[in-house]
Symmetry: C2
Subunit: 460 residues, 2 copies
């Protein structure tokens, strides 16, 4: 619709060709059509295939081409597809991926199926993957890959050049910016920038030309610290070591940023109640329904709890039925104001510029915004109520209640993510329901008790 017509027809003919090629079992045509298509069209069409078509496509393609397809699919679809394949085919495809992708997928695949695939992988690869899956996804160990140049410090520049020549094919996808130099015990001893390698005499030993004591990263370093280290040292990659100093792998700046992107994305989805972070509409209906319902059912119970305050003040409401019109507005607006404070707190926690200990500063900063915005919103709702019913007291009750509740909402919204973080609970998932329950409770209570106090002026 937003694209020129000829592009749409390109896309349709690409999809038709691909589906036909899959049905005919024409591997060559599948491969050539995928190669020709722009990557965004390839992703769109691949993700739109049926599960059967995708599985057949992966079986048709060479393991290397199939691995390219797997890399482009959303992870959930890649996992489903690999689970649908027989273990040997899946293992061949996984064998073509980089070690960090291998570990991510094996971790996400069903346990039984994952074990079957590991059995079919060659022994070294399988052992490496088994080691990598032990790490937390958002740690240096979970993000590192194990394809990197490593040489003994006693070797010479000439040895390295000979090795590069001999293993050119194996090294094709390695990042060559840095070579890592280890001592006799496998401990990281230094880093050799490729520039140094280029310009040094071939007979020199690596220990004489390398940068000793290089920056390195502990395998347990969490993602937020990693992002900070790369902000300070903008290298393409950094070496990862275990506590005893042994070199384990290399973590790349791009992979760290991608993990940060995935995390940021997941914050938004979790805040909207997509539990577990990922939902694609191609997933089975019951899975999608169940995941969403997990959060909704908690929320409705909290909602009922908050609304019970209204039930307790039913006689006030009966006397001033106009209040019923405003209760949902008070509830929604306080929720909005509080959510803004939640979003700012989550952002500042992510950037590392606010920590849980800063709660007093956050409350101070939020209450100031709360007073200003509370006055603005309170005046507005008060004016609307007055204009509607011609009763200044009704306006005052509602305006004052919304003003106070806005202040409460921003303070709670600002504080809850910090408190959850200090309790090691994910602020993205839990902040919203906690916030709205408290602000609803307070909002209803404020409106109805102010109204009860001023009941003589509101009726008649």
């Amino acid at each position: 619709m937003t694209q020129p017509a000829h592009q749409e027809s390109d896309l349709s003919s690409f999809r038709e060709d691909l589906v036909r090629a899959i049905e005919e079992g024409n591997a060559e045509l599948c491969d050539s059509r995928l190669d020709q298509a722009p990557s965004r069209d390839a992703i769109y069409v691949l993700a739109g295939l049926s599960d059967d078509q995708r599985t057949r496509l992966l079986t048709l393609l060479s393991p290397e081409d199939a691995a390219d397809v797997i890399e482009q699919l959303p992870e959930a679809q890649a996992v489903d597809s690999l689970e649908d394949l027989d273990a040997a085919t899946a293992a061949n495809i996984i064998g073509e991926l980089s070690s960090d992708d291998q570990a991510d997928l094996i971790k996400a695949i069903d346990d039984d199926e994952a074990r079957a695939i590991l059995d079919k992988l060659d022994t070294d690869t399988a052992a490496n993957v088994r080691r990598l899956v032990e790490y937390h996804d958002e740690s240096a160990g979970g993000l590192m890959h194990t394809e990197y140049f490593v040489f003994q410090q006693s070797h010479t520049i000439g040895d390295v050049l000979a090795d590069l020549d001999k293993n050119a094919e194996k090294y094709a996808k390695y990042d060559i910016q840095y070579m890592y130099i280890i001592d006799d015990y496998g401990k990281l001893a230094g880093v050799l920038p490729i520039r140094q390698l280029l310009l040094s005499n071939r007979s020199l030993k690596l220990c004489d030309v390398m940068i000793a004591d290089p920056i390195s990263i502990s395998d347990t370093m969490p993602l937020d610290e990693l992002a900070g280290v790369f902000r300070e040292h903008p290298f393409v990659g950094l070496p990862v070591i275990e506590s005893t100093g042994g070199l384990l792998g290399v973590v790349e700046h791009a992979d760290v940023e991608q993990a940060v992107a995935d995390g940021a994305d997941s914050v938004y989805r979790q805040s909207q109640g997509i539990v577990g972070g990922e939902e694609l509409r191609s997933m089975p209906l019951l899975v999608r329904s169940r995941r969403r319902l997990a959060w909704l059912s908690t929320n409705i119970v909290l909602n009922i709890l908050a609304a019970s305050v209204i039930a307790l003040h039913q006689e006030t409401l009966e006397a001033v039925i106009a209040l019923a019109v405003f209760l949902p507005i008070i509830s929604d607006m306080s929720g909005c104001s509080g959510s803004q404070a939640v979003a700012v707190s989550i952002r500042e926690l992510t950037l590392g510029i606010t920590r849980p200990r800063d709660i007093v500063r956050v409350l101070f900063k939020e209450s100031a915004v709360g007073v200003l915005n509370g006055i603005a919103l309170g005046l507005l709702i008060g004016a609307v109520a007055y204009a509607w019913k011609g009763n200044i007291y009704l306006g005052a009750v509602l305006g004052l209640a919304l003003m106070l509740n806005t202040i409460i909402a921003v303070c709670i919204g600002g504080a809850v993510p910090l408190i959850l973080k200090s309790m090691k609970v994910d602020p993205a998932l839990a902040s919203g329901p906690i916030l709205t329950t408290i602000t609803d409770l307070c909002g209803f209570l404020l409106v109805l008790s102010f109204a009860a106090a001023a009941i003589g002026y509101l009726t008649g």
Copy 2:
């Protein structure tokens, strides 16, 4: 609180030392304390300085060290600090940054101040920045940097090695994985992997060893396509060319991923009404209040509009006051269900696996989830109403209304981001208010008109 006590005291002493060093004007101590501190502590303490302290620190440090500080600050603070400095000092610091960071900052700095800084930069740098700021932030041109190795195809391997040796210092931060080879007209002719350079005879010409017709990217390519290209070709960087084939710069995978991360982060904040995407609590109160209020005031008007439906059905409400307890629940729960669908649509749009033309499929997929979750939530709310009031008809009215409204909410939530996207409006900012207005309107209307129809069974 969540950290061992000695770390907290490290942090305090780091902050105290730094503040004292700034006040004493001790540049050396500032620098050494910043170097020693872990990067996450440096970010936390730097962001927590007062504006004055930060400006003085930047003046004290060498331009290179000051540039390191600028790189670590959140962009909004970096911009403020640079605006506070005199143009010459700011220009010296900016001169130390990479070209893409230079352009980003100059773009964000006040126009007058930016012009003053550009005047103080050396002519080449200023011209380069002026060219880069013309690009959209989320395009290849806006993300590329202009520090890369480029050689004429008629040169030899030996020429390149001599040049690398001679300009070692200038090249210190360049990514050396690939060298870009141009023809006599400045057009990109090929790419030379450093491995090839290492292993080739020094007398060979570059055009004889390079990979001709390399993958390249148009300077106008948008971020989502860039991310797709890097997913397909996991290189560290790719060359950016203008429409006539001239080489303009290099875009790095890590920078693309970082832009994706910033975008994902901003989606969440915009969905919560942080207009403009960025708020730090260190910003002036009035700025923070105004930005939040822009969204809140739109929202409250939409809320009042929706609530006016209740006002129109006041007599029903008066007859069955219990309904007032449930109206905020219906409103909130429909909003939650719809927001989940919004989040999934925004995710699928971002991944490129759903496009605006897929609206029928989305509605189909969402209504299925809506039916299941609507039944579950409707039964729950109906049961609660029945348990409370002992009136089965009240339960039926509320349950049926919530069930239908859940279906409406997920369909609208799923569709609105696609429609906004096809209208080139940012789905993150506008989807929420549109969704909640419609679902509130429908929800109130369903409850109150069902209740009106069944009024005889609900009263007495």
